[in-house]
Amino acid sequence: MSHPTSNVAPLSADSPASQRERFVSAFGWMLLARTFEDKIAALYRAGKIVGGVYLGRGQEAFSAALGMQLNQAQGDIFSGLIRDQAGRMAFGELLIDSARTYLGSVEGPMRGRDGNIHRGRPRQGMPAMISHLGAMVSVVNGMLIAKRFRGERDVVGGATIGDGGTSTGAFHEGLNQAAIEKLPLVIAVADNQFAYSTPTSQQYACADLADRAIGYGIRGYSIDGTDLETCLETFSEAIARARSGEGPQLVVGKLLRLAGHGEHDDARYIPADMREKPYGADCVPMAQHRILEENWMSEDEIEEQVRITQDRVEEAVAKAQSEPDPNPFRESWHALATKHLAEGTIAMD
């Protein structure tokens, strides 16, 4: 099966210097995400996190490559799901906001009302996912439609989903809507072989999810989602095409979820030999290896970056932990912006 990309020259031809810079910078986000999530997982095991913890382990390259190459300041949108710690931060989510949401701090964007990966700052191009998979695609469409109405022509919206999420009706309706409206949407499908415990054979019957693209009349890409360079190249092209008015772009990355579905799940159902498959590689050491190989950073520099990253994470977590929990007596207990129409309680402060 052939994909349109194969015979198309990438739109962005980077100089070696900027290639290095992009790679190293992406690696930085991956490292930050991995470090932060390791910390969150440790807190979870220690009983310090309430609710679920879902990690993006193994998907950092694919996620960061999209998030990083979108331009928040220019009005781009990044709509991440449960495994997009890397992409979210690369796009512009503050580390402290992630920490606060996991820890339920009242200072966080969700103020303890929602938790873990259910977070966002919609006014800054980061919609706050609801759990129902597929539902965010059309929301991003709408944000792009709003920008089109306002004449902001140069924006791109990135939205991510998993192999499982592609089975939802919402995903189909959203992607079709984007295609009809020719919206500048880049959909990143992380085909990580499982939806919870369910293998892809129970999720789709096509050879490659990128085969869906032709049925929507949009461009599809099928790539190795563990290889940072490939991810960077592909998303760079997809974003450029979307930005230049070519409509939605569907990027499918093959990779493996290197964790349980959540931290409560030991993922015994993942056959050991999957780790040996091409998609089973761990993108973080792979990227690090490449950096060393290319001499883009020295071992010492990397060690130093790891240390700094750990410090940043510890600091953010400590700060979030020191912030107040939400206080039920200071809650307004109503759900409307139009306060005088609320039937619930109204804030006392």
Binding site: V139, G142, A337
Partner: protein, 321 residues
Amino acid sequence: MAITYLDAIREAQARALEEDESVYIYGQDVAGFGGAFKATKGLAERFPGRVIDAPISEDAIVGSAIGAAIEGMRPIVEMQFADFSSIAFNQIVNQAATHFWRTGVSCPITIRLPSGGTEGSGPFHSQSLESIYAHYPGLIVMTPATVEDAYGMMLEAIRIDDPVIFCEHKLLYYHLKADALPKTILPVGKARIARAGRHATVVACSAMVHEALRAARELAEEGWEIEVVDLRSVKPIDTDTILASVARTGRLLAVGEGFPWGGMTSEIVSRVAAEGFHLLDAPPQRLNSKDTPIPYHPNLWRAHRPTWQSISAAARNLIRL
């Protein structure tokens, strides 16, 4: 010039499009065709690019309206029939309704639901879903019963910063007429005394207000003065106005076109029972449609929903209690 309920809805949308450039309309067949009921007729020509035909994708229609609203637009979504909002249910109750509370960013969308039964429209083109949406925190649910309210509340719905479920009754579209569009309206959230009385209070909304009024005229000939309260919005409910009416009459009958279990009538009756128990001279009563899907055949349909005849009977009963 006679203005119908449907004209009022169209004119309100036109005015909103005129006055606020963040307003746009999205739905199936709303552009060139002007909507299945012609509620958007002519608007696509008057406001080029701002009335957009959607694919048959209710989930994505509402989802995209939410996204646009987050970005500051004020989309009006037309469902072809209220019944099809079941496809957009998740976006409405889990995305739109929770958005402000979760993120602090408001989500000003208006979802128009052509609602209620008409002859021969059957189980899937007749539903009254106000009670379903009112159950969820974060939504405002309007049920205009008059031409004036159809106009004024539609304008309000679009202006309000929260998601509004606008239940417009198909039976009122063409037959209900007023002389002119209103200059002012009662604020949203206030009920209206549609007819004053002293022997019993009938609380209703939408098309049922007119059945109740007709029943009240019928009973007036028998010497009974029925007070009819038009709820106007079922969320919020104006409990004060209802309690004040029950204080005058001592008797309550809540009438709804929806299914009987747990809807608007039970909410009204239980609020009055809890907050106005001492005001009641007789057990508060309810009248709803029957506990089956809505029948196609007119013989069955007329027996399924409350009508002025069954409201009269129930009110007579109540007065005798």
